[in-house]
């Protein structure tokens, strides 16, 4: 032990130089491995905007004064997404070209809200959130109204800007 210690503390012996060089080389190598690795794993957090226009169907598929379930294929997919690439949303055609398109996710904790035309309410099966037909909060724990997609009408079709799961900090 003491012999090694003397060697290590010797000012400029060949052994201490090699040891320092060895540590330095490995530190550089470790950084070069670690940086791309971190970048690779954290890649999904780096991109900011995950939004694109998708068509929900012909405007005439949605009768006036009714709210209907529509589905679209998420614009950002991988081939092995399977059925999870198909995202539902609620389309309310108020009249003419005036629509409201709500995300399926309850604003409380993201469970799928269900529309009941008889009572004109959206109900959530998880913690009892309830919303009126215009998406405003009616009862239960949700902290805000239903998430609403931006929409446009082009070539007789209803389009929404979608792509990411809506959350309180990034509502659609």
């Amino acid at each position: 032990m003491s012999e090694h210690a003397t060697n290590l503390s010797a000012p400029t012996s060949r052994r201490s130089f090699l040891l320092t060089l060895g540590i330095a080389l490995n530190a550089i190598a470790a950084t070069l491995v670690a940086l791309p690795l971190v970048g690779y794993i954290f890649a999904p957090a780096r991109r900011k905007a995950w939004q694109a226009w998708v068509a929900l169907g012909a405007v005439d598929d949605f009768p006036e004064h009714q709210t209907r379930l529509a589905t679209y294929e998420n614009p950002f997919t991988v081939p092995w997404d399977g059925r999870t690439a198909h995202i539902p949303c609620w389309v309310r055609r108020i009249s003419g070209d005036t629509f409201q398109v709500f995300a399926i996710n309850c604003t409380h904790l993201g469970c799928p809200v269900r529309w009941f035309p008889e009572s004109g309410l959206f109900m959530c099966p998880c913690h009892g959130g309830v919303f009126y037909e215009d998406g405003t909060h009616a009862a239960g724990p949700p902290p805000r109204r239903l998430y609403e997609y931006e929409y446009k009408i082009q070539q007789g079709k209803l389009w929404v800007r979608a792509g990411q799961i809506p959350t309180l900090s990034e509502p659609v």
Partner: protein
């Protein structure tokens, strides 16, 4: 026999295991620790090994692809011979592992075994507990059914509440902008590589610490832990009444672990695996997502927290809880170990356990959730339509048709979000009923826009008949009330 022995000796001559194994196996432990209360840790390790073995076996067939995972589980359940049994053992093994590690933590806490000099053993144990819960959560995601899908939605919604980095955190958690193929592979890697590797490394450290510091002796009231004397006292105790770990203490561990494995096997054979429930197709929205047993308490708490506290508690409670667990051995480092002299500790455990049990029970029944199909599946009890006028009968139809029963029960069946309607007339007068139906309030939506005036008349006429024959309906005060609503 002679051949076997010589083969054994051939290996021993090279490996020299006897000496290496002898010390950890026969190291002295306090006689008092050879107790049935000291078997939960070893049994947790046994379930971990069982989980590793069954998990590896499941990976022979399971496909970690969002498109195919659900089908591969169905295949395991119904086509692959004994696949259902392997899945059953893995599922029940996880239940037992969570239960046993919880018992182990409670035992160590009540026995004050986290005090000097075993602080690090406790902290490593806390990490093991968190990793075990991490395995339970990620495992439930790998089931990749409707519950898994919407469970991830809940996870994303919670992560999304984090200030500043919320959106990035959501995308990191999901491996992309939304739940999909890259979400499942992330959770697969966590469940199969990352967390198990950490678990095994920390189990090694935990066991090393147990060997280095010795198993804590049975806590005697009045025998205080002091930093100066404890080690010497422990050595003296071993001198006085030490027994070899094997077989004195290990025999109980062996028996209990054997029983645990048998229990897992029996549960798997009798109750079978869990799920998968409906396919992970988000467009199938007729679903009632519920988490696995371990997380029902959290699920319940999320329904019951007041909204203004929710985000704050969601983000701080886990951090504070974990920090308290880690800090525990420093907050109470020495002194009394016996639970007989630590009433606050005992009451604390009782309080926490009762809270978790109560929340889990509530999560099971979820009285705060509307029963989504009550209106169409539960008929009006016959006694409530007998002898009613046509107008009242029309009201009874409206109670069904307007989904009232999704939140209000009749004859004990229906939602429990709002009060039962069986005796609503004894609580509300006609005017109050009209007001409540039209304007809502008290967590009830307003129905004014979706009921025509004749419908309101019929509905209220029916509700006014809802009182026991022995109890008259509530009457308006003689002074005329302000006319309610239009």
């Amino acid at each position: 026999m002679g051949v076997l022995r010589s083969i054994g000796e051939w290996f021993e001559h090279r490996l020299r295991l006897k000496d290496a194994m002898a010390q950890p196996l026969t190291h002295p432990v306090p006689r008092s620790s050879a107790s049935w209360w000291y078997v939960f840790g070893s049994a947790t390790l046994t379930t971990l090994i069982l989980q590793l073995i069954t998990g590896v076996c499941l990976a022979f067939v399971y496909v970690p692809s969002a498109a195919d995972a659900w089908q591969s589980l169905e295949h395991l359940n119904y086509s692959q011979p004994l696949g259902w049994f392997l899945r059953g053992m893995h599922y029940w093994g996880s239940n037992f592992m969570v239960a046993l590690i919880t018992l182990h933590v409670i035992r160590v806490f009540l026995f004050g075994a986290y005090k000097y000099p075993r602080e690090l053993t406790w902290i490593v144990g806390v990490l093991l507990l968190l990793l075990t819960l991490g395995m339970a959560f990620t495992g439930q995601v790998l089931r990749w059914d409707q519950d898994a899908y919407w469970g991830l939605g809940i996870g994303a919604a919670i992560a999304g509440r984090t200030p500043f980095i919320g959106p990035r955190l959501v995308h990191l958690l999901l491996g992309g902008p939304i739940i999909g193929g890259e979400t499942l592979t992330r959770f697969f890697v966590s469940h199969v590589f990352l967390i198990p590797a950490l678990l095994l490394a920390l189990v090694g450290l935990h066991l090393l610490l147990v060997l280095k510091l010795g198993i804590s002796e049975w806590p005697m009231p009045g025998r205080l832990v002091s930093r100066e004397r404890y080690r010497a006292e422990y050595e003296a105790l071993l001198e006085r009444e030490g027994v070899p770990f094997f077989p004195a203490a290990a025999q109980r561990d062996l028996c209990f672990s054997g029983l645990v494995i048998l229990a897992v096997v029996v549960c798997a054979a009798v109750f079978g695996p869990s799920g998968p429930k409906g396919p992970p197709d988000p467009t199938l929205i007729r679903t009632v997502p519920r988490p696995d047993f371990f997380f029902l308490s959290v699920f319940a708490a999320l329904a019951l927290l007041p909204p203004y506290l929710e985000t704050f508690l969601l983000l701080t409670a886990p951090v504070v809880g974990i920090a308290l667990l880690v800090a525990l051995p420093f907050l109470s480092n020495t002194g009394e170990r016996s639970f007989r002299r630590r009433p606050v500790a005992v009451l604390g455990v009782i309080l926490i356990v009762l809270t978790l049990v109560a929340l889990t029970e509530m999560g099971e029944s979820s009285p705060w959730s509307p029963v989504m199909n009550a209106w169409s599946s539960l008929p009006t009890p016959p006694q409530y339509v007998k002898g009613r006028t046509p107008l009242e009968l029309q009201g009874a139809l409206l109670v069904q048709g307007k989904q009232c029963r999704n939140c209000h029960s009749l004859g004990g069946r229906g939602g429990q979000r709002g009060p039962a309607l069986d005796d609503v007339a004894t609580r509300l007068t006609r005017d109050q009923l009209i007001r409540q139906v039209l304007q809502g309030g008290g967590n009830m939506p307003a129905y004014g826009k979706h009921l025509s005036p004749p419908e309101v008349t019929a509905l209220v006429a029916f509700l006014e008949t809802m009182h026991p024959s022995s109890e008259p309906p509530e009457k308006a005060a003689p002074v005329p009330a302000t006319p309610a609503a239009p």
